[in-house]
């Protein structure tokens, strides 16, 4: 038995066989893909379901009174049911969007423009992806709503003292916060944050783009008002994402985009809106991609989040231990509850050089500020290299990363 298959709970070698791209070579080296936090690779079953849909069952949804359209609508709405079960939500609470970014913009333009009033405030943390910062800056500028930033500690955790300060005047009406930092790997204590925000009269949007990949998310148990994620990080296709919103909230929100499928009735003078979730799905949706996302969720749940979480913990512990042993390497963030994302700097070697020299060895990592530029500044760095793990990542790949870093250091010595 190899080291890779000895991980508890998860047969990584068997899982790897489901991902055709992992057999590819890069620069004549076996691919070591450590960039799953940017976008995950796709299992064969997702590609097959999408191809089969287009080969056998494809037509527009909710429109045709013909057999193909009915079957395709069944499959598309089946994907919505699948997502609803995945999050422990009702199907009417699941809005299909392009990605987490679009979901946050949707909430900002609808909830933000109607439920929030000038003088109210939105709070975000210092460790948000630009997707959960820029839409709120735009709302601030359009509506006279204040944007407040909750500090993170040097370890990379939410500073609860600062959170209390930010909420003290009770003007914050929405806390928009990540469930897992895409740079620090920190998991935020969502239940505690929700209890705190609700007690202060604020609602909570959680950016689950990273967390939903690694941990079971139960929106009822968490108590969140909105939860967003992207399909492509969850081993599904690009172009499909999910907005969960509590039913009463979605019902109170106006449409985001106008067009077909989101209306009740239309005359030249005016239109009425469909009920959620259709009110927020104008135009032909990403039909094949939604069905692909459903297949990805089936695939993930068959593996099981207990096994996935154990695998992530073992890999993360191994990575933190192995990388910490490299002289000159500094890991950014040190949260107690952290997952499979490790951003680091190397003394006197720029992150771009690190990424290129690892790439030459077949190792794919990301370098830059990872769409969290203010967070990089918070930690006093311009850019970092980032290794991130998925269900197909092995311990030996992390050892290859460590060896690769030692080799590239020689180029700069």
């Amino acid at each position: 038995m190899s080291v890779a298959t000895a991980l508890p709970g998860l047969d990584v070698e068997r899982i790897r066989e489901d991902f055709p791209i992992l057999a590819e070579r890069v620069h004549e080296k076996p691919l070591v893909y450590l960039d799953s936090a940017a976008s995950a690779q796709k299992p064969r079953v997702v590609m097959d379901v999408m191809a089969r849909t287009m080969e056998k069952q494809y037509a527009n949804v909710h429109r045709g009174l013909h057999w193909l359209s009915e079957r395709c609508s069944d499959a598309y709405e089946g994907a919505r049911d699948r997502v609803a079960r995945f999050l422990n939500a009702e199907r009417e609470e699941i809005v299909f969007v392009r990605n987490a970014t679009e979901a946050i913009n949707l909430v900002s333009y609808t909830f933000g423009h109607t439920a929030l009033e000038p003088g109210n405030a939105v709070a975000v943390s210092q460790m948000e992806h630009h997707a959960n910062l820029v839409p709120w800056q735009m709302l601030r500028d359009a509506r006279g709503i204040e944007l407040r930033i909750v500090r993170v500690t040097e370890a990379g955790e939410i500073d609860f003292g600062d959170l209390e300060r930010v909420f003290a005047d009770r003007r914050v009406k929405l806390l928009a916060i990540t469930h897992m930092s895409n740079v620090l790997g920190t998991y935020t204590p969502v239940e505690r944050l929700v209890a705190f925000a609700h007690a202060h009269g604020a609602q909570v949007l959680v950016d689950g783009a990273q967390a939903v990949v690694h941990r079971r998310v139960d929106v009822r148990a968490l108590g969140v008002d909105f939860y967003v994620f992207s399909g492509h990080k969850l081993y599904g296709p690009t172009g499909i994402g999910v907005l969960y919103g509590k039913r009463t909230l979605l019902q109170s929100m106006p449409p985001f985009l106008g067009g077909g499928d989101m209306i009740g009735s239309v005359s030249y003078e005016r239109s009425t809106w469909a009920e959620p979730p259709y009110r927020f799905e104008a135009g032909t949706p990403a039909i094949v991609e939604a069905i692909g996302l459903g297949a990805a969720i089936d695939y993930i749940e068959a593996i099981g989040f207990d096994a996935i979480a154990t695998h992530e913990r073992v890999l993360t512990d191994h990575a933190l231990r192995t990388l910490s042993d490299i002289s000159g390497l500094k890991i950014i963030g040190n949260a107690q509850d952290r997952g499979g994302i490790v951003a680091f700097t190397l003394d006197r070697i720029h992150a771009h050089d690190v990424a290129t020299l690892l790439d030459k060895q077949g190792i794919a990592v990301r370098a830059g500020h990872h769409c969290a530029e203010p967070l990089a500044r918070r930690f006093g760095v311009d850019s970092t290299a980032r290794a991130s793990f998925g269900i197909y990542t092995t311990r030996s790949e992390i050892d290859l990363l460590a060896a690769g870093i030692e080799r590239l250091k020689k180029v700069f010595s």
Binding site: H350, A351, H352, L357, V411
Partner: protein, 149 residues
């Protein structure tokens, strides 16, 4: 890795990244410009002195960035010293063309600059190589405008 890395991290690039010849500030500055790449935080500041004429007499740069970025800012110094401003802009054009196409120009000043031709294969790194050169072009155009009004 040592053999496959040569096309990008050539010895000349590594030498000039480790110990740049022109890093620092000029006392007298007749033209300067800054460039930055917000994607990675790379920043470059290029400075020229040409007295009252059109020939560059002194050059310096302050660069914060990766090895490619620092080395390309420094090798810029080798090709601008003692040369006319309008000649320099044509070299800058040729350098950018080389990064864009991967093809080395035949001009003699590219004997050394050809070290950067390999950057072409790395779309995400092309900006690292051209940052200082783009800043140099803006500085030189402003100097020419100032001289010839």
């Amino acid at each position: 890795m040592e053999d496959t890395v040569e096309d990008l991290y050539q010895q000349l690039i590594m030498e000039r990244a480790r110990a740049p010849h022109y890093a620092g500030r000029l006392v007298r500055i007749d033209g300067e410009a800054e460039g930055d790449n917000p994607m990675c935080g790379d920043q470059v500041h290029v400075m020229f002195a040409s007295g009252d004429g059109d020939v560059v007499q002194e050059f310096a740069h302050q660069t914060r960035g990766c090895a490619i970025c620092i080395a390309s800012a420094d090798l810029l110094g080798d090709v601008v010293l003692g040369r006319h401003l309008d000649e320099i802009t044509s070299t800058v054009d040729a350098f950018e063309e080389m990064i864009r196409t991967g093809t080395r120009p035949t001009r003699s000043e590219f004997d050394k600059l050809a070290a950067f031709a390999g950057v072409h294969a790395y779309r995400s790194r092309r900006r690292c190589a051209t940052l200082a050169w783009q800043a140099a072009r803006s500085a030189i155009i402003r100097m020419m405008e100032a001289h010839h009004g």
